[in-house]
Subunit: 227 residues, 2 copies
Amino acid sequence: MGENIGAAARVMANFGLADLRLVAPRDGWPNEKAEAMAAGALEGPVSAAVFADLDAAIADLTYVVAATARPRHLEKPVLVPGEAAGELRARGAGTAVLFGAEKSGLPNEAVARADAIVTYPVDSAFPSLNLAQAVGVFAYAWATGAGPAEPLARPEPASKKETRDLVDHLLAELEEARFFFPPEKVEMMELNVRAAFDRAGLTSQEVSTLRGAIKALANGPKRRRSE
Amino acid sequence: MGENIGAAARVMANFGLADLRLVAPRDGWPNEKAEAMAAGALEGPVSAAVFADLDAAIADLTYVVAATARPRHLEKPVLVPGEAAGELRARGAGTAVLFGAEKSGLPNEAVARADAIVTYPVDSAFPSLNLAQAVGVFAYAWATGAGPAEPLARPEPASKKETRDLVDHLLAELEEARFFFPPEKVEMMELNVRAAFDRAGLTSQEVSTLRGAIKALANGPKRRRSE
């Protein structure tokens, strides 16, 4: 909804956040209702970029948190907004929070791509938070979080695309090795494997090592001899 | 504006605040636009009472904080939302936060009646906060202000031994696939792989999935045919 996007942009600008990425916005872009609700935020303070899908939107990022009320049994850290804001601040550039459409929320495959989940301490009797309010609360938590926190000494993280390509490579080789049986299991296993590798926060070097490892296993000397 | 009142009521309900007092609402009360934006919050979770003026609205209260961006040289404590929420919680019943109309804010005589001022850490280049967002941020600060936080539910982690066995299995298969070349690289690669899997904090289920994957790759159909 354009109104929610505009209201989200406005409160981002209030709290100093400038980089808005839209994934396939329902009503197209630019959007008049968004501009009206943004009260000027989209005319300078906040830049909005449109992406065809989530993978494209997060390809250059290194750490992504998904806002969802339903952890759906994915094995990911669950953070409150203040903690999530702290994580993003500590990691510096290349981070994002994912928000879904207000009614439906984020689909499973979007949550699966995240490194962690952020969930809001809402009253269980009235849990449905307006999308722009969810963005506003996060933006406030970000603005009041401990100032540019100590950058943790961390090795160069892999981009989301590197990690995704690694998992795609593994899944393709597993497919060829007839690993997915019965076929109904494919989707859940894929989610599990993606979740595990996302959570690992692999470095570029590790991704490269693991890709070599997959290649070696899939095309080991015995296997090469057979061809 | 009815829309702002409704959106404020909705986010109050999200964070467990139930008592809304309206001072001479511009468009009268009840208000259809407020009800639409409240998404049900005004039909139970939040009760709205209308007062003719501010003095009547706060007559029975003991501590009131005024939300304003402009302290106007009044000699009052200036708090950020988290501090204001803490003050209200500490004082118990009989407390309130005053918010003004979105465009004009609170008039001087309203701010003068407050015990303290709450001001939001907004970007000075884009300071105009939507009224419902201001209420939302306060409500969130109130909800997270104190009290024992719920212990977060975490999935069953794999034991250190399970993760170590997984890495041993992978390394043994890689050894057989002649992956480690030159031999001097073995130790560093082993360290890298162990570090990545340790950091992932795998669950037992994920360890089991990954062991199946390694086995499938190492003994894929082509490889079996060659033996």
